[in-house]
Symmetry: C2
Subunit: 549 residues, 2 copies
Amino acid sequence: MSPEERLQSVSPSGEIFALPLPEDYPGEFERLKQVVQAQRDLGREIVVVMGLGFVGAVMAGVVADAVDKSTGKSNKFVIGVQRPSVRSFWKIPLFNRGISPVEAEDPEVVPLIRRCVTEKKTLLATFTEDALSLADVVVVDVQCDYFKEDLGDVRTGHAEIAALEESLRIIGDRIQPECMVLIETTVPPGTTEYIAYPLVKKAFERRGFNSAEPLLAHSFERVMPGREYVASIRDFWRVCSGVNDTARQRVTRFLSDILNVEKFPLTVLDRPIESETCKIVENSFRATLLAFLDEWSIFAERNGVDLIKVIQAIKVRPTHSNMIFPGPGIGGYCLPKDGGLGVWAYRTLMGFEDDIFKLTPMAIDINDTRALHAAELVRDALRNMGKIVAASKIAVLGASYREDVGDTRYSGSEMLVRKLTEMGGEISVHDPYVQHWWEFEKQDTYPAPGNSWARFFRNQEKLTELRIQQNLGEALKGADAVVLAVRHQTYLALSPDDLLEKVGKPFAVVDCFGILDDSRICRYLSLGCEVKGLGRGHIKRLKDQLKNI
Amino acid sequence: MSPEERLQSVSPSGEIFALPLPEDYPGEFERLKQVVQAQRDLGREIVVVMGLGFVGAVMAGVVADAVDKSTGKSNKFVIGVQRPSVRSFWKIPLFNRGISPVEAEDPEVVPLIRRCVTEKKTLLATFTEDALSLADVVVVDVQCDYFKEDLGDVRTGHAEIAALEESLRIIGDRIQPECMVLIETTVPPGTTEYIAYPLVKKAFERRGFNSAEPLLAHSFERVMPGREYVASIRDFWRVCSGVNDTARQRVTRFLSDILNVEKFPLTVLDRPIESETCKIVENSFRATLLAFLDEWSIFAERNGVDLIKVIQAIKVRPTHSNMIFPGPGIGGYCLPKDGGLGVWAYRTLMGFEDDIFKLTPMAIDINDTRALHAAELVRDALRNMGKIVAASKIAVLGASYREDVGDTRYSGSEMLVRKLTEMGGEISVHDPYVQHWWEFEKQDTYPAPGNSWARFFRNQEKLTELRIQQNLGEALKGADAVVLAVRHQTYLALSPDDLLEKVGKPFAVVDCFGILDDSRICRYLSLGCEVKGLGRGHIKRLKDQLKNI
């Protein structure tokens, strides 16, 4: 095969890397063996991290950065393994130059990876899974997505566990029997014991390790995108468990080595299913808190109540301080799917035919469709100005799923854009934190392939040309409607007069996230704008008061 | 009418009071007028509190105890009004001796009432509603219950608003037009404007005050039974609103006079419906948090998970610290009903035909039936010992709805006792905080008449003889099953060996509230007891481990 015919992987900055050929593997493995031998001579434990995605890349850095708490010396050597696909291979050469493969608002990420790769030399990346045979510890950060068949019915979907199963098969085929395997992925409860254990145990038996008990452990991450990304791994409470006493002890020691367990004590549970369930309950709880306010948001809109002020009045109580207004939808990678993993596991892995789940799936269904109501408000606000969505230009301010981060996964804005596009609207989008909205630009490399909201809407073709505007004025110019979709710092400060000047004429404003205070709402109204907002039933009253002045 | 023929009201301690006759009213009103004139001469504002129930009695004390924040002198005089019914008249003469009509764990309640009545002389009680004509401020603490037609379907029920409407009619007929009326009752959102306003406005018109605008306000209480009862009124955040600017200003000043608003700032909302909605959202949120764990509790029981440990592992996160295990049911006066008031108002007061509420009613339905599953565990634990409920003696430890208080309203234990009785079990009950379980002893004087769970169960007749045991040994003697139903301090410390001695033979233990740690579970098992627990799926594993030793 000539170099030109080789498959290529292109980094976000446009650098091209040829994928390795079969003949490249033995050399790579030789290189690893030599590095590992030298590291073992330094007394370091060899840790292989499977998957250099959002979690794995930074986890690899945290492990490689850890030092022996008494001597202060590095005591782990980390090999990050990424399969050499067109979509992801570029991560490996970049990583080995000390460049983080993930974008993050946290200023700690870039120096963490650089420091470990180029200074401490405790971190490298490779494409060969043979690295597994050299590991004392394997950390599995392979994604387990949830595929939804229908919009607004999580029950008809299923866990996409094949990639994780494949990784576990490879692990079983390659690791030494005494290697501890830590599954860090959020998985359907039961996965470690019902799926991973039999796969690895059978692989051991095939390899002649008949009496070897796989040392499987589970400890989910609680990473939070944003400026505290690294701290959310290292300086945060962890829960872990193992399939047997040895695995439980090994994972406890490993996590105690790398995390700040002095300040954030580790919880060790008896069985992996308890740790797996913990994560699902935790995120389903939060999804439920958010979904709960959807119906009250509608109630507020229809009955003159400003739900934003109501929530502020309630949140002062320490027992209610985690009440959060749901905005135009509940995104992020975890909350839209984790409850689904639980419901699926109960039926599929545990084989129960009855349906015990009520709030968990209902919360996801409510959250998944909330953005459609935001689209209704845009429609109604335009109608009040004598327009329809189909003939209008709509500027959406904010593409990410939460404030002051650039993470667009399953964001309410994505669905809002899709729905308004289906209705024929012409969309422009601004977001100071998002350079590329991958969900529209490259659907084949979407973090969860095939899992975008795209397939639930018609008329989506033209969205492949959607590009994020970095210039707010450009995004706003001539808009018939402006949607305030995310509570980014810059949007909280926007002045109505300034916006009117940028737009060039009165427009419809739709506040999806309690961004406007009453004085700004009144200013928009007196400038001739139409204003609507999720959960903001008091706007009509403000309008009437203005008329009476 | 001879004295013997007069209706009588009997205090909890057995003292008998004859109800007043029509001819007693003018004299009582004359007395009040004189007292009020003297109080006005002292520069005090006259406050009438309607209803001396759980909230009104203590609220009356808090108002009467308030002093001018600059001079330190009492500036309110309070008249508590209680209608002279057989059920409640005894409160008035006791109150006027300085004796609190409500039992409370809070040591502040008794001296508060005594101090205001006998020392400060800023508080008295009366049976005549003519007192209203003397008031500068009326505080309405008349209950508004929610009646459920069906068990587990809150939607078919209705708000019992008649008593409140009647009180508002009386208020409209008697108050001076400049009197500010503060509704403190938790009401269906819209009540102040949709119900109270037209009632009082029309009464004013009948009385010739055609141009007078009723000064109606709403500010819900957030009282919490227990040792911080008074503080939960005085030293806690408040929300208020009024039907117009004057009412809003008046209620703001009044609450600022009597509450610790320096430390717990007041939230003033625009309209009463916002304040009313606030309370309903607040309590529905909490009901939903609790209901959420019901399905995970079942999941845990069936899949080897100890949900108690899972919750402990999650609660360390500040964003999840209000996660609470739901125990054998969700009682107390508010959580089982408040969401129902919201759903009812939307349909009835606001006239909407569509059904926007999902989580709010579902949470109540889940919470209302959770105790039935606790009964299933008792059944199953007995079955594992070769017994059935019908032939068994079952000791229930804890009658109140939460730990370390004596409040039994809608407690999970009540429903558990009713269900096990329906199944033929013989029940004994112990609770160190409850002397009388009124729900069983006097159904006609139940706090919410007709609203007890009784009507949903058959075979309840013999329960009128149920008496709370104060002696734990008596309650336990010969029991086939012991239900640990409430996390009272004394129950957390119970030793398995001690219990076995009191019971006299191995028994079934059902832990409804995460009361048993693993070492105690193991001890019960090794003593030959059968153990089950809500959400405690790991017990079978502990049993297997014991067998293998």
